[in-house]
Amino acid sequence: MLNFIFRRFLQAIPTLLILTMLTFALMYMAPGSPFLTEKGMPAEVLANINAKYHLDLPVWEQYLIYLGNLLQGDLGPSFRYLDFSVNDLVWPSLAVSATIGGWSLFIAVTLGIIIGMIAALNHNKWLDYTLMTTAMAGIVLPTFVMAPLLVLVFSYKVKWLPAGGWHGGDWQYLVLPVFAMATHLVAQIARITRGSLIEVMSSDFIRTAQAKGLPYRTIILRHAFKPMMLPVVSYLGPLFVGVLTGSVIIDVFFGTGGIGQHFVNGAINRDYSMVMGITVLVGVMYIAFNAATDIMYAFIDPKIRY
């Protein structure tokens, strides 16, 4: 097992290298330079600045320097917010995103599995149809639609909750962002769980368990639950992506100050180092999460050889 985990992480290395190469290449090819101002500056000063930021070296050397800095956790200075490094800006907002994302994941997984199981155990009855139609609505309503709708209803019409802001993470400020992000994910997980449980319930070992006269609860919890979880677990990787991309919308719309906000602002301001830093950061988390999902999968599924 340890061997498998170790190998899985080794496999992530080439992916990470390609990720950094791609982002670096994009940045290198990007039109314009952060140091070209409207007034222009003396050639000597520009040459000095270029030397300082290694822009006068050949590409591959620049890449190696960039990679070296990255390995030391240095994402470089922001091109837009003078005198701030990308690290200074990113880490506080990562905490915000982690709070919102963590709650959303928690709600999505628990609620999704429960709804999916209820629907599956009432297969082809009205409860199943109602739940699955609702889930479909949750799927077709993307986060960027859900967020405005929630604000419209709960902030403008009934005025229960604030329409945005963070305020140190008070619960009132958390509710709408978390729900806006979680709806879509709950619906997805519910659908996957339902399909999976229906298939599991029609398999031979469940029939055997029923023939033995086991109580219904034991059959579900002991025998059906684990195989049911397999597709759900393999969805956790994409789920994490959903949280990351969802956070872009959430931060822009609610102004919560999470990492997504920096990404979009950086993109609009052409703050290349910021956008790149976040792309690499998100990429690393994403790849790590995929690896973790694989390992978890191997734990649950005895058929997987490692």
Partner: protein, 310 residues
């Protein structure tokens, strides 16, 4: 020799006659069609999609304004004069700049549907051929090809696409390329799996024995046989693409003004939803209904083409 062979085949394909009764064989596709047509929800949704496509093509015929023309009267007070009404000719009202929302919704539908369908088509062509090739040739080629897919799919492409859009400007063609480049990966994986399961079938062996080239076997024998699953996946991919484009447009990184898309319209509508709800409601309705219908059609197709359901 070859002609004779063809003749035999054509005789086999003719319906068999038992007495006065004609018994016709039903192909997989005919079966699937029957099952699909019995699914009321899916057929209804297919019809709705048809209507929306027609709307995006011919809707501009009924518009009183062009999608970039500014109605200065409505601009003076978009909340009151820009309301949806039949008298002013603004069926869906106007946006905050006094542009006719009906015409803009038609235009947005065109872009959104085009992005959805074309980029899915790109992804499906690349993915199917790639997957079929990898699965059919097998061995080391397969290993390398699938390793590439694995590495590419481990990258956070959503972020890469946004980065691309920022650095090289907002061009619709770039959206196609970027989205298409991302989404063929899953397709390739699915098709490869299917190909592996059919490549040792007798008819493939027969084609080998006849001396058909690899490429022709892939295109003529493998691809048609994986078409079922490709079709199901495609119908679920289109709403994904539409959503992705809307997502990018919502962030203000998608289509360039004065062109628009559902996502861009929604993002404009959100700003003024407190006092002019129609600006959000119309494009949102179109987006949601389309996504809903594509998902239902996809589910219907999956049920219809599932061999277990016979």
């Amino acid at each position: 020799m070859l002609f004779k062979h063809k003749k035999v085949v054509s005789q086999l394909a003719e319906p068999m006659v038992f007495g006065s009764q004609i018994i016709e064989g039903r192909s997989l596709w005919q079966d699937a069609k029957r099952r699909f047509l019995r699914n009321k929800a899916a057929v209804g949704c297919l019809f709705v999609i048809g209507v929306i496509v027609l709307f995006s093509i011919f809707g501009s015929q009924f518009a009183q304004y062009s999608y970039e023309e500014i109605d200065w009267l409505a601009l003076s007070d978009p909340v009151e004069l820009g309301k949806p009404s039949l008298e002013t000719g603004h069926y869906f009202g106007t946006d905050n700049l006094g542009r006719d929302l009906y015409a803009r919704t038609v235009q947005g539908s065109q872009i959104s549907l085009m992005v959805g369908i074309l980029s899915s088509a790109v992804a499906i062509v690349i993915g199917t051929l790639y997957g079929a090739t990898a699965g059919f040739i097998g061995g080391r080629v397969d290993m390398i090809m699938m390793r590439i897919v694995e590495i590419l799919s481990a990258l956070p492409f959503m972020f890469m696409v946004i980065m691309l859009m920022v650095m090289f400007g907002r061009q619709i063609i770039l959206i196609f390329i970027a989205i298409g480049a991302v989404s063929w990966l899953d397709m390739a994986r699915i098709v490869r799996g299917q190909t592996l399961s059919i490549k040792n079938k007798e008819y493939i062996e027969a084609a080998h024995a006849c001396g058909v080239s690899h490429w022709r076997i892939i295109v003529r024998h493998i691809v048609p046989n994986v078409m079922g699953i490709v079709l199901v996946y495609a119908s679920l991919m289109i709403p994904g693409m539409i959503m992705f484009e809307s997502f990018i447009s919502f962030l203000g990184l998608g289509v360039q003004e004065p062109q628009t898309s559902w996502g861009a319209l929604i993002s404009e509508g959100v700003v003024s939803m407190e006092f002019a709800l129609w600006q959000l409601a119309f494009p949102l309705t179109f987006l949601v209904i389309t996504l809903f219908c594509f998902n239902f059609v996809g589910d219907g197709l999956r049920d219809a083409l599932d061999p277990k359901e016979r």
